[in-house]
Amino acid sequence: MGAPTQKAAIIGVGETDYQTRIPEQTYAELAQEAARKAIEDAHLSPGDIEAVVYSMAPTEFMGVTDADKWAIDAVFGRSKPFMRVHTGGATGGSAAQAGYMHVASGLYETCLVVGADKVSETPDAQFILNLIWDPFFERDFALNTITMAALQTVRHMAKYGTTEKDMAHVVVSSWKNAQRNPRAHLKGVLTIDAVLESPYFAWPLKRYDCCPRSSGAAAVVIASERVVRQKATRAAWISGVGGVANTVYMGDRMGGARDTDLCDWTELELAAREAYRQAKITDPVKELDVAEIYAPFSSNQLMGVAALGLSSHHQAGALTQEGFFDLGGEVPVNPSGGTLCANPIAVTALVRVCDAALQVLGKAGGYQVPNVHAAVATGVGGSFQFQTCMVLTDEPR
């Protein structure tokens, strides 16, 4: 398997601000804002969009099961090829890849990938996130996304000596980065002590180790090489994609006959291996200029940098404390503030793609990393069982 049938690039990015509630807009109107911004950013009109992929994770948060089909008119998708992609938290990454397939297959010249979420329309988010588990074996134990991350983090601490302080550094750096991102939900000056002293949600995760529940929308316009040459001055070329799914059962990923360890994010390592192969990246630390890692909990960023080959598992904490992944460091990670500072679940992984694309396009504003030639964006979903990876570059590869 070599080059795609048709090369494709992101030429437009659209995002709303991320906040807890957005009472000024209905769900469909919110999605429209991102779609409109992305199409305008691409210097196209809605009529130029040939196909639409809708990014929508569980609908229970916003409460309309046909959310995508409600929003279709608003996102200029009516009477067009349209499909909804849903892979839990990884949805936005999977949707971006599905949009890429529309163009890479040679069947379409343009595809809009768009989605929105209003996670705070219900107060029962963690209850709903209990219903993702096996109804017979796992729902009874109050498993949700926070406890699931805590279980994984305990293993990482036991296996690699990771400390709560390593994790606190991730939080402080993310919040600091987010101050430069006008769309971020949480931002501000946090100290290591403030993070360490925040109350335990589920040991060892404390309040500030956890992402917020956000509302907001995001979109990208993906175009063929032909359209790029005609219409765009800059493009973020989709040079490599990968995705890997694993068992839902976290207990299969601990000891015994395991193929992978829950705390190693092997799924991302394998997905990145494929994306790097396509993008001809052999030394990620040297060749990647920025990484947007879907890390909803602070410890996840330590797992993510190792899975992407930016560090060893053992060194991830120390390198984080040394500033290796800060803005101005060797490989800036989540200069946008990342998922710890905004988590509109249905599009969080698409926001990673947006932020990576903005870096390649040189449009990231206050959090722009200088001279970005290659960026990577990831998405994670389910019981940390679905991982996606996309490499964006300033030239086609």
Partner: protein, 154 residues
Amino acid sequence: MVQRDDLLVLGVDWHVHYDHSAGEIVSAFLKGLGNGVIQGRHCPLCGAVWLPPRAYCERCFVATDQWVSVGPGGVLEAFTIVGQKFDNLPEPPYVIAFARLDGSDSSLANFLTMTLGSVEEMAERLAVGQRIRAEFKPESQRQLRITDFHYVLA
């Protein structure tokens, strides 16, 4: 955020009922709990004993072929102590644990019961790799649910 009195919010509740078929494998496992037995399913190709029990090996993609009794002893593979109250979920603090019962190749989630204290104190007393034991409720209180047993430190 400024409260605006021109914006309305519509309150909606939505109830959907499901009757999930347990199937033969899950039914047999849950019935086994009534007799105080925990059983995993054996893969004829890779030889792994999987818990939760399933009708097929996800890895070898063949039907599993026999029941294997596991435990009651085992190893703690991961745990967390919940310190926060979540709507519709239990009162904190409580411990969620994944333990690999002796004779099985994967870990099974359950509550771990221990002397309560602050979250930090409880964390001090738990470690990955520690021995645990599955302890059943008295026979009269069993409901053929996974909560018919829980873990305790060995």
